[in-house]
């Protein structure tokens, strides 16, 4: 395996991991505020549709991105309305959002485009182009670093860079700002935050809105940057893998990023090793590799390697005492 092969695998790892990173960060923000978010999958799917549909109608990827974010935030607010305002079950609300999204995207898709739930495939200028970073030419002659810069660092679409940026951003927001301190407190002990005179519902709503924005970018990536249009069920469980990655990273941004890259690497690698026998184990069916993230998460949750401690108030609606 040459240096270029390594770079190409890492390159596709980042591309596969992009929606995972964004959704996992969304889940992290929401769960740190005490709201379980298994609706990531639905938000991702709905955003992917909204982005592709808008880009197809307006011809602008940016309008698509905005629409994706808008729809995803809207679903976040529905989730909040159910489980913050009305103290409903967060898991049921999440399931409702997922099912709603998979029905709504096809219904709207057929109504708008009559192509069996797909959007028309997007022309080049209605998609996010690859961004050539400066220096590709200049570094080209440097061994190792030149290809590294050209293949791995440069040449991705905007959402990929946003995904990588989202990690330090979320870290900074949650661990270096007053808002973040309060947000984490509301996930651990909301009564303490309440007694300091800060609104628990409003904080949680804001956490969900941030989560919605991140999922929206992830959705736009799927349909207007990575793909060229929306296909039904195109989120294909990525929201759930992101959820797994978030747990696998123990609700901490950098570990979650690592988990997303690991899961992304497994998927990117699975495609490459398909059909080729490996040393010691022989040929592995691709399905086995693809379920590894889920297996790993189950093992982690069972406390077999390190304990994953969720935020303490996770999943419990806050009732203000009277």
């Amino acid at each position: 395996m040459t240096w270029l092969d390594v770079l190409l695998i890492l390159d596709s790892t980042f591309r596969v991991a992009t929606p995972l990173i964004l959704c996992a960060m969304a889940g992290l923000v929401s769960e740190r505020a005490g709201i379980v978010d298994i609706g990531l999958e639905g938000k991702l799917l709905a955003a992917a549709f909204a982005a592709a549909a808008t880009a197809a109608l307006t011809g602008s990827a940016w309008a698509g991105l905005l629409a994706g974010i808008g729809v995803s935030v809207l679903l976040s607010i529905v989730h909040g309305f159910a489980c913050i305002t009305h103290r409903g079950e967060q898991i049921i609300s999440g399931i409702a959002i997922n099912i709603l999204a998979s029905g709504m995207t096809v219904v709207a898709g057929v109504a708008l485009f009559r192509q069996g739930g797909q959007t028309p495939s997007l022309p080049r200028d209605a998609r996010f182009p690859s961004i050539e970073l400066p220096g590709v030419e200049a570094f080209a002659d440097i061994p190792y670093f030149g290809p590294f810069w050209a293949e791995l660092v440069s040449g991705h679409t905007l959402p990929v860079y946003l995904a990588v940026l989202s990690v330090p951003l979320v870290w900074w927001l949650l661990w270096r700002t007053r808002f973040g301190l309060r947000l984490r407190a509301v996930g651990e002990m909301p009564s303490a935050v309440d007694s300091a005179g800060i609104s628990v519902p409003w904080l949680r709503y804001r956490a969900l809105i941030i989560a919605g924005v991140l999922c929206g970018i992830a959705g736009a990536f799927l349909s207007t940057a990575h793909g060229a249009g929306f296909v039904r069920e195109m989120s294909a469980g990525k929201g759930y893998i992101a959820l797994a990655a978030m747990i696998f990273g123990k609700w901490r941004p950098w570990s979650v990023l690592f988990a997303c890259l690991l899961f992304g690497f497994l998927e990117a690698g699975a495609a490459r090793i398909q059909g080729t026998p490996l040393p010691l184990v022989g040929e592995i069916p691709i399905e086995v590799v693809l379920v590894l993230p889920y297996v790993a998460t189950v093992i982690l949750l069972a406390g077999f390697f390190g304990k994953a401690m969720p935020p303490r108030a996770l999943g419990t609606p806050y009732v203000k005492e009277r």
Partner: protein, 362 residues
């Protein structure tokens, strides 16, 4: 604490939530530019009126009864089993393995009960592991069952495209089971008595599902185990104090729940298809959540809710033929709305209904 009178809690609020879900769906149909009344009419025709329609409706109802019961049993213990999809899938594996092993010589009277037991056992096993992990290792049942849905799906794809795949075929599906292993169709039975019923995939799995409802009712409201289950669901600490072995209860509750989900496979694998096809649970496991929520986790409610969803699914397929702009995914949308309104937002109406009709002392 005041509670609503029974008729308001069990009739008024479910109807309000249901109307809200259908109301929103009607708005969507209007936004598409079609007539919601016409769409509803098409669905009713498709679910009840056309030849064989009613049989198909009951066929879907059978699936939903099983998956609904599965979710409900776990609900009574305050456990969210959202792994019904995977448990049903693995149930299919249990049924097909029994058939592949014995269907060359075993008579149907022996083979069918054995295959049914196989489906229940594999479904139970697939729920047992998350149950055990929750009880003894503290992992969250919701997350583990989600993961197990995916692991199960991956496993089944690997098996169906691998060792289970029928020779000389490129579709990932098993070979067909022998005639002896097929569940008798209802139309064959009914027609034997001189009636005339259209051919549908409705098989004796339907009466089996009704029996399962009775069984669940007895189990939950008439046995010591059921009492322990409900006590645990009401208050885990009180259950511990009363000497109920909570951990063992979690594991057994999940196993029973998984067995019921696994039984869904008999309706499709032994009834309709006669083989295991790729992704045969096709979302019915998830729909079980909506069925259990609508049916308030009671067998009678579940039969009604399963019937509603059965009619929706069968009626929904008709939408594809009658409209260019509305497809059967409309039903998925309605299903999501029902889960939202009668599950997550179930408390929304309670305060002002209480004010309206007055509460009663709990």
């Amino acid at each position: 604490m005041t509670r609503l009178p029974g008729w308001a809690e069990y009739l008024l609020i479910p109807i309000l939530n249901l109307s809200l879900a259908f109301g929103v769906a009607a708005l969507v149909v209007l936004a598409i530019g079609e007539n919601p009344v016409e769409a509803l009419n098409v669905m009713i025709q498709g679910a009840f009126v056309y030849e064989g329609a009613f049989g198909y409706t009951l066929y879907y109802t059978t699936n939903f009864i099983f998956t609904g019961l599965a979710v409900a049993v776990a609900f009574h213990a305050r456990l969210f089993n959202i792994g019904g999809e995977g448990q049903a899938y693995l149930g299919g594996l249990g049924a097909i393995l029994v058939c592949l092993a014995f269907d060359s010589w075993m008579p149907g009277l022996l083979l069918i009960p054995l295959a049914i037991a196989g489906a229940a056992a594999m479904g139970a096993a697939w729920a047992f592991i998350p149950g055990w992990l929750q009880a003894y290792r503290g992992s969250h049942i919701v997350i583990t069952t989600i993961m197990f849905n995916f692991i199960g799906a991956g496993l089944m794809v690997a098996l169906l495209a691998g060792v289970l795949m029928r020779g000389g075929q490129s579709n990932p599906e098993s070979r067909e089971v022998a005639e002896a292993a097929r569940l008798p169709y209802m139309h064959d039975i009914v027609n034997a008595f001189g009636f005339d019923m259209a051919s549908t995939p409705l098989s004796i799995a339907f009466p089996v599902a009704l029996l399962a409802c009775l069984g669940v009712w007895v189990l939950i409201w008439r046995t010591r185990w059921g009492y322990a289950l409900r006590a645990m669901g009401q208050s885990e600490s009180a259950a511990v104090y009363a000497g109920i072995p909570v951990r063992r209860m979690i594991v057994t509750a999940m196993a029973v729940s998984g067995a019921l989900a696994g039984l869904m496979a008999i309706n499709t694998v032994l009834g309709a298809h006669g083989k295991v096809v790729l992704n045969f649970p096709s979302g019915f496991g998830f729909t079980g959540i909506a069925v259990a929520l609508m049916g308030r986790s009671h067998p009678v409610g579940i039969i009604l809710a399963a019937f509603l969803f059965g009619a929706l699914f069968q009626g929904g397929t008709e939408l594809d033929f009658e409209f260019q702009t509305i497809t059967r995914e409309m039903v998925l949308l309605i299903q999501g709305l029902i889960i939202l309104f009668s599950g997550a937002l179930s408390l929304m109406f309670v305060p002002w209904i209480t004010r309206l009709v007055g509460g009663r002392k709990a």
